[in-house]
């Protein structure tokens, strides 16, 4: 049992050590990326670079979240812990869209 826990911790540490961080801005009512590919365990920071509030959300099966709305300069992270295609939007601004492929 003790050995099993050690293995799990090592695996977790290994996953965390390899995880990457990305930043996507919201600028001029658009995400600065329209589609991106990341790995399971990676984190994306969503930063608002517009002079008004944005929201970031997804209702996709692989990752569902709602970061609320926040003002210019603020950034909020999401760690993607499951593979799949995730459609990200801004609830406030209808035509903002980003696809994240988590592999």
């Amino acid at each position: 049992m003790k050995n099993f826990i050690v293995v799990c911790c090592c695996l977790a540490f290994s996953t965390m050590a390899n995880a990457a961080e990305f930043t996507v801005d919201q600028k001029d009512k658009k995400f600065t990326e329209s589609e991106m590919n990341i790995a399971v365990g990676d984190t994306v920071n969503f930063r608002n670079d517009d002079p008004f509030s944005h929201n970031v959300y997804s209702l996709s099966e692989a990752k569902s979240f709602d970061l609320g709305s926040y003002p210019k300069g603020e950034s909020r992270p999401v760690t993607f812990d499951q593979a799949g295609q995730i459609e990200v939007g801004c609830a406030i601004h209808f035509d903002m869209a980003l696809i994240i492929n988590v592999k």
Binding site: K29, S53, D66, S69, A91, I92
Partner: protein, 348 residues
């Protein structure tokens, strides 16, 4: 360090007092300035690949838009609620539907809606084509039996000819009917207002009060209006809760939240265009503001019902003069009306 005389300092301070507001709003309030050109609408209205506008499609759409026989009681057409006499709305606080039933929301204007990313107060339809059948199908609105509708249109020789010309070989169906109505709606465009002339370089097109109002409109510490009513169509294709009194009702209209169940969308409604806004009182989705000055007062008061008010409203700081200037500016967004020719409807 440079030494300035009192007179020089006075001149510098005076100059700064003119420059600082410009920096705050990020635009120069000078007719024809390059920074303003983003406010001009594109020359051509966006059209989907499967429904490019032709005179035959527009004419058919106009007939359908005005034909009361598309309603269950034969007494309502699209134009009943979207009437050019009232700025393509109906002059009522909220719409009247079948049997004059009072509906919950104001009739939205059709003006420039072709430039928007979605339709309806809650954005539940994306395109004009997707929206067109909705009021006919809704029992509380035009209350039309759709099967009977197409049976009748197909039996009408005038309509058969018009559909054949507009959509050769495609028949008479929901797709061709919707596309025809959408084609007509794309002709309802406001893009030649005094503001547009001013942006193009005619310094006399707007009064000093209207130019001042545009400054208040852009200033993030005053009107902050452009945060939502952005260039070029004075929209953000977005949804906001304005804290209107009706949101405090026991069972308020939850707006966009019904389509997208996220907290920020509770009581949020689509940002309407401000082009031709002076023609379509009363205002807001619930028709609660009788005049543009009432609208200004609502914003100056930062709404009336707390809970989910758009953060953009917090920074609004309006004096009475600012409000008057803003109203003057919005009156400069009206394109001079042109004569409108009504269609002759085919009787059989």
């Amino acid at each position: 360090m440079t030494n300035y005389s009192k007179k020089q300092l006075h001149i510098l301070l005076l100059a700064a007092s003119f420059v600082l507001p410009m920096q705050a709003i990020g635009s120069t309030l000078k007719a024809g300035d390059t920074s303003l050109q983003k406010w001009l609408l594109p020359g051509e209205v966006p059209q989907p690949d499967n429904n490019k506008m032709t005179p035959d499609r527009v004419e058919l759409g106009k007939m359908l838009f005005w034909d009361t026989r598309l309603s269950g009681d034969g007494n309502m057409s699209c134009a009943s609620c979207h009437n050019p006499l009232f700025g393509w709305s109906d002059g009522l606080p909220t719409a009247r539907g079948s049997k004059s039933k009072v509906l919950g929301r104001a009739s939205p204007v059709v003006t420039n809606t072709a430039f928007n990313a979605m339709q309806m107060w809650d954005g539940r339809k994306k395109t004009l084509e997707e929206q067109a059948m909705g009021p006919m199908e809704a029992t509380v609105e035009m209350n039309m039996d759709i099967g009977n509708l197409f049976k009748w249109i197909k039996s009408n020789k005038g309509y058969k000819t018009a559909f054949d010309k507009a959509y050769p070989g495609e028949g008479i169906n929901q797709s061709t009917l919707s596309r025809a109505i959408a084609s007509f709606e794309r002709t309802i465009v406001s893009n030649n207002s005094p503001f547009d002339q001013w942006v193009k370089g005619d310094a006399k097109a707007m009064s000093k009060e209207q130019v001042r109002g545009f400054g208040v409109f852009l200033d993030q510490n005053k009107g902050n209006c452009a945060a939502c009513h952005g260039a070029p169509n004075f929209v953000d294709n977005g949804f906001h809760n304005l804290g209107l009194a009706s949101y405090g009702d026991e069972k308020p209209d939850m707006g966009r939240f019904v389509q997208l169940p996220l907290a920020r969308m509770k009581g949020a409604f689509k940002t309407p265009t401000l082009r031709d806004i002076s023609l379509s009182a009363p205002y807001f989705h619930d028709g609660s503001a009788a005049t543009l000055m009432d609208v200004m007062q609502t914003y100056a008061d930062h709404g009336y019902v707390e809970g989910n008010i758009s953060p953009e409203i917090d920074s609004i700081n309006l004096t009475k003069q600012d409000m008057q200037d803003l109203v003057a500016f919005m009156e400069a967004l009206t394109t001079p009306p042109k004569p409108f020719t009504l269609p002759i409807l085919p009787l059989d």
